[in-house]
Amino acid sequence: MNLLFYISSFVAVAATILAITRFHPVHALLYLVVSFLAAAMIFLSLGTPFIAVLEVIVYAGAIIVLFIFVVMMLNLGKDTALQEKNWLRPKVWAGPCLLVLILLVEMIVLLLNAPDVTMHITVVDPRKVSLSLFGEYIIALELVGFLLMAGIVGAAHIGKQKKKILHRFLN
């Protein structure tokens, strides 16, 4: 199982790198799916099968599909890819990457400073999660309901298209 972790970690990192470097949105999203699937494998190796499943269904499934849906709807294709390709020159990405890498190195150094503990993985099964979720965290769960409601109301309002696109006083 250790091996699974390392392999899937590698896959996740590699897929993520690919995802953030693709020019075509659909390609990027597909790599992202791979990355999420690999993450699901990591979760599995961490003894959380429930989360692994959710990762696949919600992240790789629902959310990515939402993205793809929007990409399709806006018909973002070659133009966007070309635009991004023109944009993503070393001049543009080198600086941020350097800074972020410094950040990464610093974070890793800090992490390594912390005492290293070996985790002993035991499966925490969905039942336990559910008990916790509907027990002590029930209010949080309800609040998440409101969170989603806010999301829905907001998305519904903002997503609405008016016939007139121009502001009315402009015409």
């Binding site: 941020p96 800074l99 972020v100 950040l103 610093e106 800090l110």
Partner: protein
């Protein structure tokens, strides 16, 4: 009478108040009566007081009247308190008596002026201030009078303020005297620090106990007070304002710039004689300043063409004699010369004023001439004054007062042959320019037609003063002649008697020399300006002599020197710093803030990526802090 002492300064003050507040609405005649009347009344009181003083002198030697306590803070306690001893009485007499005459003269002289009330108000205020100056029993009150006369001098020099030159002259007079005043103020501070009092009598009493002779402090104090005196009395090196001060009306020149105010320095030194006596250095300085001044000013007087400027330089020169006398310790001689000088110099100015007015405001003596017959009274009185100025032996007051000075310049304990030489040279010069003045103005051919003849209100004061210029000398005869010494007897109640050197030649020799020199001066004047004018014409051809003449005409270049040395740098500094360097500093700070604002504004460029970069920098900062 002495219970009315306070009336002497109060009456002129009253006049001033009435005239300044209601002057606009009063008739000129009323103004004249108030203006001259108050002074006249004060003069009357003074004369009565003087008689009382002579008949039954007060036990303490002075009348004193406490009016009110001015202020007292800490150990400093100052009262508005006036006092009159013999010295003061001399001054009061001159101020009120000559002042009254000049006022009377002015009522006619100024008759056409629009600001009649303002003139008399200022004159009355001046008389009041001058009286306060001499009657003050403490130095703060004296300083009040001192500054007050300065103010009035300023107001009156600039009386015709619409001409910028007059204003400049007034300002100049104020600035320069202010320099002296400031030094004097510092002297007062030092005096107070040392003695803890500014009461004159106390100082006189305490100073010898507190200071050793020749102490640095006392020298410093004396020199600072002297500086005040120099400023007011137009002595070297602060003499430059007085010739310019002639911009004022002639009565003003007569009263302020000849008879009274300019002698305030003499009064101050005489009043504080104890301090000066304690400091031989300062005495020497006084004498040297006096001697130099009398010579330098006299030289300048020789070449002036403006009648009033001649008289002005002459005034400086005569006050130089007084300083010389003070410096050699001939206190009463100095005061006596002040006394006589007041008469003849006031007379000369008033007469000059009459001449100027008659000749349509012509000041240049070479455009006058031949007035001997057309202005008889003026001529005669002017003659009396000029003779007195030239110190014509035995018949003029000027002789009686100047002669002792010449004698003491050599013979007094502090005396010195060099001082005497300068003084004798001065006597020659004086006689010379007096003659020159007389001859050019009154003899020769008439160059400007005579306009208005002075009326009786002008001639009567002239005559009285003329009599005074001759007769005033008779109250004090030299020791070796008649030995009638009414004046010095009285004054020596206050001032110490002069100490003579041992083994002196006879005084008579000196008197003889003085008389000879005077006649020599007269004769030179006569030759150059009457009998043989060609010599002068010859001299005019010489460039060197012309340069010297111009040098003397400009008052030995002091004006230019000061201009370059003080005025220009001051103006330069003020001009370059008009905008205040500190303002620039603060504006710089403000500008820096604005520049930072500009820079920071660039970070708000609306780009989302840039904003995220901000977040990245933040987290980098935080993580780096933790690593460190």
């Amino acid at each position: 009478m002495h219970q009315y002492l306070y009336l002497i300064p109060a009456l002129p003050l009253l006049g001033f108040l009435i005239l300044s507040l209601a002057g606009k609405h009063l008739h000129k005649r009323v103004i004249a009566w108030i203006g001259a009347g108050t002074i006249g009344a004060a003069a009357l009181i003074t004369i009565l007081l003087g008689i009382e003083f002579l008949q039954s002198p007060p036990a303490s030697g002075a009348y004193t009247q406490l009016l009110w306590n001015w202020f007292s803070a800490g150990q400093l306690s100052v009262a508005v308190s006036i006092t009159a001893d013999a010295l003061t009485l001399v001054f009061i007499f001159v101020i009120t008596f000559v002042g009254a005459l000049i006022h009377i003269y002015s009522t006619a002289f100024m008759r056409r002026d629009r600001d009649y009330a303002r003139f008399f108000a200022s004159m009355n205020l001046f008389v009041c201030s001058m009286l306060v100056l001499v009657m003050a029993d403490n130095l703060v009150l004296l300083y009040l009078g001192w500054e007050g006369v300065g103010l009035c001098s300023y107001l009156l020099i600039g009386f015709w303020y619409e001409t910028p030159a007059n204003c400049h002259a007034a300002n100049k007079a104020f600035y320069i005297t202010r320099i002296g005043d400031t030094a004097m103020a510092i002297g007062l501070f030092l005096l107070f620090k040392e003695l803890g009092s500014l009461h004159i009598a106390t100082i006189i009493e305490q100073a010898p106990k507190h200071f050793e002779a020749g102490d640095t402090h006392i020298t410093l104090i004396a020199l600072l007070l002297l500086a005040g005196g120099i400023g007011k009395s137009a002595q070297l090196p602060l003499q430059t304002w007085l010739p310019d001060a002639m911009a004022g009306p002639s009565p003003v020149s007569a009263l302020i710039h000849a008879a009274t105010m300019v002698t305030a320095g003499v009064y101050l030194i005489a009043r504080m004689h104890t301090l000066f006596q304690l400091s031989p250095v300062s005495m020497t300085v006084v004498a040297v300043i006096g001697a130099l001044t009398l010579f330098i000013a006299g030289c300048s007087a020789m070449v002036q063409t403006d009648i009033k400027r001649i008289l002005a330089y002459s005034t400086i020169s005569q006050i130089g004699y007084m300083f010389l006398a003070l410096g050699v310790g001939a206190w009463s001689a100095a005061i006596f010369h002040f006394f006589t000088h007041a008469f003849f110099k006031a007379l000369l100015f008033l007469a000059a004023g009459a001449v100027i007015e008659a000749l349509h405001h012509e000041h240049n003596i070479f455009k006058m001439g031949g007035l001997k017959n057309s202005m008889r009274v003026v001529f005669l009185t002017f003659l009396a004054g000029a003779a007195s100025l030239a110190a014509l032996p035995l018949v003029t007051a000027g002789f009686f007062s100047k002669d002792p000075i010449l004698w003491y310049a050599w013979g007094a304990a502090n005396g010195n042959p060099f001082l005497w030489i300068l003084a004798i040279a001065g006597a020659f010069i004086t006689a010379f320019y007096s003659t020159r003045l007389m001859l050019v103005v009154f003899w020769g051919e008439r160059k400007t037609p005579v306009g208005d003849h002075p009326g009786k209100w002008m001639t009567v004061p002239l005559v009285i003063l003329g009599i005074g210029s001759v007769a005033a000398g008779f109250i004090e005869w030299p020791h070796n002649l008649v030995h009638f010494t009414l004046f010095s007897e009285q004054v020596q109640k206050v001032l110490p008697a002069v100490v003579l050197k041992q083994n002196l030649p006879s005084e008579l020799i000196f008197q003889g020399i003085a008389a000879l020199v005077t006649f020599a001066g007269l004769y030179t004047g006569y030759v150059l300006y009457y009998s043989n004018k060609g010599i002068l014409e010859g001299w005019r051809q010489s460039a060197a002599l012309l340069a010297i003449r111009n040098f003397l005409l400009g008052g030995w270049g002091f004006d230019d020197l000061y201009h370059a040395l003080f005025v220009q740098p001051f103006l330069f500094i003020t001009r370059i710093n008009k905008k205040d360097v500190f303002d620039r500093l603060y504006n710089g700070i403000a500008q820096a803030n604005i520049n930072i604002n500009r820079l920071l504004s660039l970070t708000q460029n609306g780009s989302l990526r840039w904003y995220i970069a901000g977040v990245l920098l933040g987290i980098l900062f935080i993580i780096t802090m933790q690593l460190l």
